[in-house]
Each structure stands twice: as C-alpha cells, then as structure tokens.
C-alpha cells in the first residue's frame, strides 16, 4: 500500500491562532505562517486505527449517559467533534487517495464477505464491523424483528437500473446513497434498484428508528473502510455509505444536496403533506423519471468542486462582454420575473435579479447548482421552450417558481437561458422576453463571442510549479451580497485522466476537511503528498487551495501564492461575475410587501394530494 510513503511531513496541520488581520499583506502573513511550520511540527496524534465510532446528536442532552459513551477504546468519553478528529487522523495516515483502495482491500473484502449474498447483509455486516452493539446502542438484541420489517415490498415500478445488488461490484462502489421514507420505504438508491434494496433500506430504517426511540438521532457510523452518514429531513431519511474517506460534514453536505434536489422537484411542503396523510406513501411514484437527475447530481458532487466549496463557478469572460449580456437581460423584463440566468457549457455567464428580491435574499450557490444540474442532466430542454414549476429550496423550500428554459443556439444547445417568474400564467410574457434577448444577442453577435469563451489554463498565471488551484473570495462588503463564487483553472496534466482528477479532488477534499474541522479548524495546511504538494490557506478574505509539483520548496510556494493572488486580482473582472446587476420590473400590486418570495403560489396548486 501507499502508506509507507507518508512520513510526518504529510500530517503537518498547523493551527495558527488568531491569524494576523487583513492589514497585513497576504504574502507576509503567509510567509510568517509558513515559517512557523518548520518549528511547530505537531507529532502525529495517537494512532487509533481500527477504532470505530458512532456519533449521534443528543438533542435533549439527556441523562442517557451510556448512550453518550460510544468509544470502545480507552479514550475518555468524547463528544462528536472528537470522534470526527479521530477519523481525521486516520485519514491522514492512509492518505485519501482512491488508489489506496484497489486490490488488497478488494480481496480482504471478498474474504470477509464471501458468505453474503444479499445487499441487506452487506449493510448488516458493515454495521457489525462497526461494532455497534458494543457501543451501547444495543442493536444486537433487537435487530432481528426490525430487520424483517423492511423485507416485504410490493412491486410497483420496475426501476431501469438493473445492477445486481448481490454482486461484489455493487458493494465496491465508492459511495452509495440511499433515500428512504420514515416508514422504511425505499425512495432512491444510487446503484441498483431501490426495490432490490428494500431489505437494506429496512435495516437502515430500523437502525434510525431504534436510535430515535431513545431520543437520539443517529448521525454517523464509522468502520475501517466505510463511513455511514445519516441525515433525517422531515419524513425523509438519507443515508450515505462511503469509502471515500471524506469527512462526515462533507458527506452530510452531499446528502443535503440530494435532499434539496428532491425538494426542488416536489417542494418541502408537498412532501410533508403527503406523508402526513399517508405514512407509507411510495414517493417513487412522484420521483419516477427523476432518478437521472439525482444520479447526475451525485456524479457532479463527486467530480465538481463547486459543491465542496459551496460556491459557483462562472465561465471566464471579458468583462465588457459579460456586462453587455447582463444589460441585455436587464432590459428584457416583465412583471414577476425575478431571475434571469444565462448559462454556457453548463457554467454561469451572468445572473440578473429583480431588485426587491435581492434586498430580501440572494440566490444561494446551492440553488444555482441544482438548476445547473437539472439542465445538464436532461436533454429535455433541447426541444421546444420549457415552462416548468421549480422550487429553489434555499430561497424558499415550500414554493414553486415557474422556469422558462430554452437553448439559444439550437441544435448545438450550449447556451441556455433560464428565466424564473413567480407567476405561473406568465409564459407568453416571459417567452417574449426570450425573443427580445435573442434579438439583442443577435445584433451584438453575442453567441459567437460566447462560443469563444473558455476556461483558462493554469499556465496563464505564469508560476512554474503551480499545477492547479481553487480560489474562493469571501462575501466581504466589497462584493456585498454577491453570489458566492470561486475560480479555478482547467485540470490539466498530470490531472488529465478521470482517475487523476478524482485523486486531486480527493486531496482537496481532505485539505478542506482539515480546514473546516469543527474540532480543530486550521488556517493553513502545507501538505506534502506523494506526488504533489498542497497548500490550503483560509483568511478572512478568501479560501485558497493550491497544488504544486512535489518538490516545491516552501519559499517557492510563498512566492507562487503571492504571484497567484496578484494575478487573480488583475483578472478578477474576467473570472467573476462582479456586482450582479439588478432590474426592477414594473410595480406590481399583487406582490406582497415582504416581496421576493414566490408567495403568490396558492399552496393548493402544488399539492399532489388530489392524486393520493
């Protein structure tokens, strides 16, 4: 295995307390910080390989002390944060590299699992490996009746995914995601049909409800190879079984995206209402045909750092061109139009917003991600003009917007216009806006200019050892209430292949988890990995992840980052959407004083209850 190569240098997380304030120029701060690295190497934390932990919320903070003490080993009772840290140190020992998983582990697994012929048993076995019973949860004694609860399942829709859930290959997927209802009904599984997995889901639900019955909420289970994270949102339970070595927070964040994508199609209010009326409702009826959208989301979550950073990536564009596009959008308006969004190659070109809306709320990156995923995941938008209800869960989880979606460059279908209105009757008016936009873009030859736009190469920065970076400026007064964005060059050699891309992303995810560790957040990490050296740095103004060739010296890294920051400053008008423009649609009396939210939707209209 690769482990041998990772000497101490690799785990050199250094917490810099009270980082020098912004008054210091970045480079100085960094230089100071880096010089600290040499002198303050923290010894590796105590090795706790093989330890398994279960962490839970204890909302009542009750006297349930035994349940609160899950550690097997000699550690004092630790809170959840400490357990996370444990996981963290494990991670740093076996570096989060995908390639660390192949052959050996595969055979190990096969040996351990060779008597399993059912996906349900897979989960049981996995959970057993996590020594749940020993952790005071006591699943052992009660498991069997609960386990059987989920096994009988009426055949309804046959799923199009026919992966054999009893096969080894199914088990070896890097990240499983399951969605089930509180009654244990399968709703979605990333791999294999939900139907074939109903017993697995039953097991999970049994676990969840068991822990709930004692006023706890199960949050996560760790075993050597897997992290299992549970997320309950209303009547839905989402479970992630991952061998990706990501932190619990990251996996939970990913489950949130899955939840939000479901909400974006059905709204939170409808889902609650449905399950209030019928606890064992089969939600697959309403999600039928949308599996592709969830599949697409999970693939994006794995491959696109936007999700990790909770920031939006826009297509670099000359600021004059971006401004002219924004102006075109700003002029094509109609009452109740609230967002006009232009997308090219699945990346943002510009977003223009209704004035009163931006005063109240701003568009959250996650909502933009969901929209981009929806459009990218389906070819349904390539024919005709689409008019569809859609919910932006972070904006308002209970209401629908009506989205007009149309590509502007058929048949290529790379430039897409998205107009969001609060008025479901506004199709013709909104379609008219599109025609105006089309016309103006024609006059200005925008389409061919957009076609020339592309992501940039890291070589443009002109720093020889720098291979890749991700830079996310924070929401400072300077760019007030702006959509959170980040910029990043193309991933090029040596990260050209899918595997290498993923490996770099895994390194970034690892750095990110260290930076954002709830127990021991770090401001700066200098990480000497086997094939590259990474430096992550967070200040009050930005978050930066850089990847260098392995032999870069600290001094070089400092100079490089100084140069990089200067380059970004120089290019920022091209790299980011600056000062998102607003428009004001004609005053509309029907708009409530609170404005903005799509509160004109009568709630009866998005109810699915009539069909139950």
């Amino acid at each position: 295995m690769e482990r041998a190569n990772h000497q101490e240098g690799e785990a050199q997380g250094v917490r810099i307390c009270d980082p020098p304030s912004e008054s210091n120029p970045p480079a100085d701060t960094l230089a100071t910080s880096l010089s600290l690295l040499g002198n303050h190497m923290f010894p590796d934390p105590v090795e706790r390989l093989g330890s398994t932990t279960v962490s839970r919320d204890d909302p009542a903070n009750s006297s349930d002390v035994t349940a609160e003490e899950p550690s097997v080993d000699a550690e004092p009772p630790s809170n959840q944060l400490m357990k996370l840290e444990t996981e963290d140190t494990e991670t740093s020992e076996s570096q989060p590299v995908v390639s660390a998983q192949p052959a050996d582990r595969g055979t190990e697994d096969a040996a351990a699992d060779n008597d399993q012929n059912d996906s349900g048993e897979f989960v049981v076995a996995m959970l057993a490996k996590a020594k749940l019973e020993e952790q005071g949860i006591g699943v052992k004694g009660r498991s069997s009746p609960l386990l059987e609860a989920g096994t009988q399942e009426s055949p309804t829709f046959t799923s199009h995914r026919d992966e054999d859930v009893t096969a080894d290959s199914w088990r070896q997927h890097r990240k499983h995601v399951f969605v089930l209802s509180e009654a244990g009904k399968p709703i979605y599984s990333r791999y294999g049909s939900e139907e074939a997995l109903s017993s697995t889901m039953g097991v999970m639900m049994a676990l969840v409800s068991f822990v709930q019955s004692s006023d706890n909420i199960i949050r996560s289970v760790y075993s050597e190879e897997h992290t299992v994270v549970f997320l309950q949102k209303g009547p839905l339970v989402l479970v992630c079984v991952s061998s990706s070595r990501q932190s619990e927070q990251q996996l939970r964040g990913e489950l949130m995206y899955v939840y939000y994508q479901i909400i974006s199609m059905l709204t939170q209010a409808s889902i609650s209402r449905i399950f209030e009326h019928k606890k064992n409702y089969d939600l697959r009826r309403l999600l039928a045909g949308s599996e592709k959208i969830l599949d697409g989301l999970l693939n994006l979550v794995d491959s696109d750092p936007s999700f990790l950073l909770a920031a939006v990536h826009c297509l670099p564009l000359a600021s004059s061109l971006r401004d002219s596009l924004s102006q075109i959008l700003q002029k094509a308006i109609t009452p109740n139009l609230v967002f006009s969004i232009l997308i090219a190659k699945n990346q943002l070109l510009t977003i223009v917003q209704e004035k009163t809306v931006i005063e109240d709320t701003r568009l959250e990156p996650a909502d933009v991600h969901l929209l981009l995923n929806l459009i990218g995941a389906s070819s349904a938008f390539q024919a005709g003009e689409i008019w569809t209800p859609i919910c932006l869960p972070l904006f308002n989880p209970d209401c629908y917007f009506y989205a007009y979606i149309s590509y502007l460059d058929p048949p290529d279908c790379t430039v897409c216009l998205l107009l969001l209105s609060t008025d479901k009757e506004a199709f013709y008016a909104v379609a008219e806006c599109k025609r105006k936009i089309e016309e103006a873009m024609e006059t200005q030859n925008s389409l061919s200019l957009i076609a020339k736009a592309q992501s940039y190469s890291v070589s443009q920065v002109g720093v020889s050892d720098l291979r890749h970076f991700m830079y996310k400026p924070f929401d400072v007064p300077d760019n007030y209430r702006q959509l959170t964005q980040f910029t990043s060059p193309e991933m090029e050699a040596p990260y050209g292949s899918e595997e290498e891309k993923m490996r770099l992303l895994d390194l970034y995810r690892y750095m990110h988890s260290r930076i954002h560790s709830t127990s021991r957040p770090l401001k700066l990490i200098y990480h000497v990995a086997e094939r590259e050296t990474l430096l992550a740095w967070v200040t009050s103004k930005f978050e930066l992840y850089t990847c260098f060739s392995p032999l870069v010296t600290k001094a070089c890294a400092i100079t490089a980052i100084t140069k990089l920051l200067r380059w970004i400053k120089k290019e920022e008008d091209r790299l980011f959407i600056r000062y998102p423009p607003k428009y004001s649609t004609t005053p509309n009396p029907s708009k409530s004083s609170r404005g903005g939210k799509s509160d004109q939707q009568d709630s009866t209209d998005n109810g699915f209850l009539s069909l139950l």
Binding site: A332, T388, K436, E438
Partner: protein, 224 residues
Amino acid sequence: MGESLPSGAQHHSDALRKPVKTLRVKMALLGSSGVGKSSLAIRFSKDQFSSTSPTVGCAYFTRMVHLSDVTFRFEIWDTAGQEKYHSITPLYYRGAHAVLLVYDISKRETFVRAQVWLKELEKQYIAGSTVIWLVGNKADLDTDRQVSTREGQSLANERGLFFMETSALSGDQVSELLLAIAHRVNECIGEQQGGLSEWQEPTLVDLRHPGRFNPFGYCCKVGP
C-alpha cells in the same frame, strides 16, 4: 417592414400582409410518460424524430398550418406524463382548442390512463370549444400491439372523440393528423365569434409594452 425579425422566428410575418388571417390554435398533448407525446410534438413542429428525455413540466412548440381560407398557428403544449406533474397539468391544457390524448398501442396501461385523462378533461370542457383526439402512437410496434385499432376506435366513438393511430418514429399519419385537427378546429371553433384569436407578430408592438401582452389562452370559454 424594416424591423429585423427575431432570429429564432421560424415564421415570417408575411401572413400579416396577405388577406388570409392567421389564427392561434392552442393544442395540448396529454398521456402517460413515454407514449411519445414529445416525439409527436417534435414531428409536428420540425418533422423530425430525435431521441427524447422525459419532459420536464411542459414543452412549447409552434407550427403553422395553411388551409385554403385561413392559416393556423398551432401553439403546442407538450405536457409531461410523469406523475409528479399531474397536479399542474391543467395549467397547460386549460383553454386548449385541441387536446390529444396519446397512448402507446404496445402498452395497455397507457390506454387505461388515457381514459383517466379523458374523465378529467370532461369535468372541465364545454362541448364545442375543444376537439379531442384519441391518438394511438407507436403504430410501428404492431407486433407488440396490446390495444387493437378497433378497441381504440370504439372508445373514441363511444365518447365522441376523433381517433387516429400514428407513428412518431416513422412519421406515419403524423401530418395527416395535424391537418385533420386543423380542419376540425376550423369547422368546430373557427367559425364561432371569438372562438380563435388572431395572431400578431409581436416584434413591433410588444417591445414597448412588455407587460401588456395578452396571453391568448385566457380568452377561451373553458374556465380554469
């Protein structure tokens, strides 16, 4: 007309210059997911067959049809068959002059489903304001047929619908269907006072009155 036309407009406004009036016909396609509604709509509007994904919400297409004394601008609302959209489907078919209830001749349950749609339609529609067609699509799948032509025809007769079998794949009977609809609409609704509204090329007028555009769907007799 010195103004430039919107680049995407497939139809020129010469119609305005001719004595022949252009009238707007709202047409909605209803039916289970996967029966081929979008495939038919794409045939109607572009006479193409391309691979499709399940529709999200509703897709809107247009198509001009010239009859001897009138031109119709078909505004086609291709609804999504997936269950999650059922509750909003009335938004799309409300006020339609023509409704196509589409089923897949190789899947009986879609035929059953079409009848459920019919029931729902019948609650809302007023005789004489809408023509309804029962359309058995995928006629090319004759070997897998689960609903016979006779069965479709007799349901149509029973419920006073028009009937046609089509294949969006081969294009068989598709333009015939559209033409037949145009004639029926002309006979049943076109003659009536205020039955169909006139189509105006919006480019010139509406640039200055963005909010005034009067959606035509609401002038119809069928109430919400």
